[in-house]
């Protein structure tokens, strides 16, 4: 993005792509393993590389899942065969949290977040 001349609203220039008030920049380390295929999918997602709409949706899903309040493990005593496991780290400027998840132990909201991240992680 080119630097705007001083007479133009500076706010436009300093606001990075993907941000709106209330959405922090996030760095997400996403890993999915297990499943019938047993293939490990790993991706780092920088929210700055997402469209504003995608970043907003992601932020909402993270909030809905209460991600930063989750315990470090959201797992089942008896993992179901061929289910997915996830390791998810979300970092912002102010905090970082890592959670291990067994697919069948996830709430509906956490599952929605993981599905959305899977879609983003699969993108070329």
């Amino acid at each position: 993005m080119s630097k705007a001349p001083a007479c133009i609203n500076i706010k436009q220039d300093s606001e990075p792509q993907g941000h709106s008030p209330g959405t922090e920049r996030m760095r997400i380390s996403f890993e999915r393993s297990g499943g019938f295929a047993g293939i490990r999918l790993r991706r780092t997602i920088d929210s700055d590389t997402l469209s504003p709409e995608e970043a907003r949706k992601l932020g909402e899903m993270i909030d809905a899942a209460h991600f930063f309040d989750l315990p470090p493990s959201v797992t089942s005593e008896k993992p179901g065969p061929d289910r997915f496991q996830y390791q998810l780290t979300i970092e912002t400027k102010t905090r970082s949290h890592t959670v291990l998840v067994d697919e069948e132990a996830a709430t509906k909201e956490l599952h929605a977040l993981l599905s959305y991240l899977t879609t983003l992680a699969r993108r070329k």
Binding site: E31, S33, G34, G35, F36, A37, G38, I39, R40, K78, P79, G80, P81, D82, R83, F84, Q85, Q87, E104, K108, H111, S115, T119, R122, K124
Partner: protein, 357 residues
């Protein structure tokens, strides 16, 4: 079911549901089961299901398949689309699930005389079109669940019959040795599912051990993926090498055992080792792999030779002893078992005692 009716408020007593389950048509039986399942969950009483499941036992070994369509939702089981004896629906996923459940039932019944997953004629339920773009299939403890694949890397998961055999075998293992789904016992659990999944496929295709391809999940990749299958029992580690998916990580020998934390300790990775042991055993014996090699492996589960935390070494010792019991000490079959495990770096020793025989 009429949505105005709340099954909790007008619950039919279990003995009436049992009558319906035995005499009713497919959709009546289905509703009776689901009513009881809802009430069982609400009341938190698993013993209701236990008694009911016994009442659902099929007489003298008949399969009872029921296929559902989740219509891309999270809800299980979904809408009933095909019951036992019903004609094809025209939906490939539903019809492949129906056929695959049947082929798996037939292998277990006709070759091993096992009447369904629990050996008591348990219903074989499968749900297709579960969720959206799900690149997976699984056994959830009660039924099979199939995704549609993502269409880019994976086709629908009903496309390979060995997937269906693999998943139902998780059910068999659940009802027999209950191998813990983690680390070595978990990899053994995975391998047993690949073994019997492959045997279902080989029997459907009429292939003996020498002519089988020993590939797992052969039809699942889209044409854009550089790979022939998800796993190879004949040559673990060679099934795929793709820029997006990576390379097949399976070892073929204990020296390459992957002590990882993900995938429950690499259960889908290290299964390559006992898979290869079975392959070598079956080829060494010759003929149809499901007859002798398969029988040895099946007896290991049926007669509970293993504890829930069994290692590969335990499985080697058990199969070696079972081969002697079935075919004689020093027999060709027993020697084949020893060779199979030796090929993957495990030398057999006789079991100290049979666990729970």
């Amino acid at each position: 079911m009429d949505p105005r009716i709340n099954p909790i408020e007008c619950i039919l007593p279990p003995h009436i549901l049992r009558e319906i389950s035995q005499r009713g048509n497919t959709s009546q039986r289905d509703r009776a089961l689901r009513t009881l399942a809802v009430s069982e969950r609400q009341r938190g009483r698993r013993e209701a299901i236990g008694a009911f499941a016994f009442a659902l036992a099929t007489p003298a070994g008949e399969k009872r398949r029921t296929i559902y369509d989740a219509h891309n939702s999270d809800t299980l089981p979904g809408q009933l689309v095909r019951g036992e004896g019903d004609k094809p629906t025209g939906d490939p996923a539903a019809d492949e699930a129906y056929d695959g459940l049947g082929s798996t039932y037939d292998l277990y019944k006709q070759i091993y005389n096992r009447n369904s997953i629990d050996n008591q004629g348990m219903r074989l339920d499968g749900t297709v079109h579960y969720q959206q773009n799900l690149d997976n299939a699984f056994w959830n403890g009660n039924q099979m669940v199939f995704g549609d694949g993502d269409g880019e890397l994976f086709e629908r998961f009903t496309k390979s019959v060995d997937v269906i055999g693999h998943e139902l075998t998780h059910g068999v293992t659940q009802f027999t040795i209950g191998l813990v789904y983690k680390d070595q016992p978990g990899a053994l659990n995975e391998s047993i599912s690949d073994v019997f999944g492959s045997l279902v496929k080989q029997r459907v295709l009429g292939q003996d051990a020498a002519s089988a391809d020993w590939l797992i999940g052969q039809g699942l990749f889209t044409p854009s993926v550089k790979g022939v299958a998800l796993r190879s029992m004949k040559a673990p580690g060679t099934a795929y090498d793709d820029p997006v998916l990576g390379k097949d990580p399976q070892p073929a020998h204990m020296r390459d055992y992957q002590d990882v934390s993900y995938d429950n300790g690499g259960v889908h990775i290290n299964s390559g080792i006992p898979n290869h042991a079975f392959y070598v055993t079956a080829v060494e014996i010759g003929g149809n792999a499901w007859e002798k090699a398969g029988m040895i492996w099946y007896v290991m589960s049926r007669d509970r030779w293993l504890q829930a935390n069994a290692s590969f070494q335990d499985a080697a010792a058990a199969t070696y002893d079972i081969a002697a019991e079935l075919y004689g000490t020093g027999s060709l079959e027993q020697q084949a078992v020893a060779k199979g495990w030796a090929e993957v770096g495990i030398s057999v020793q006789p079991a100290a005692s049979a666990a729970g025989a």
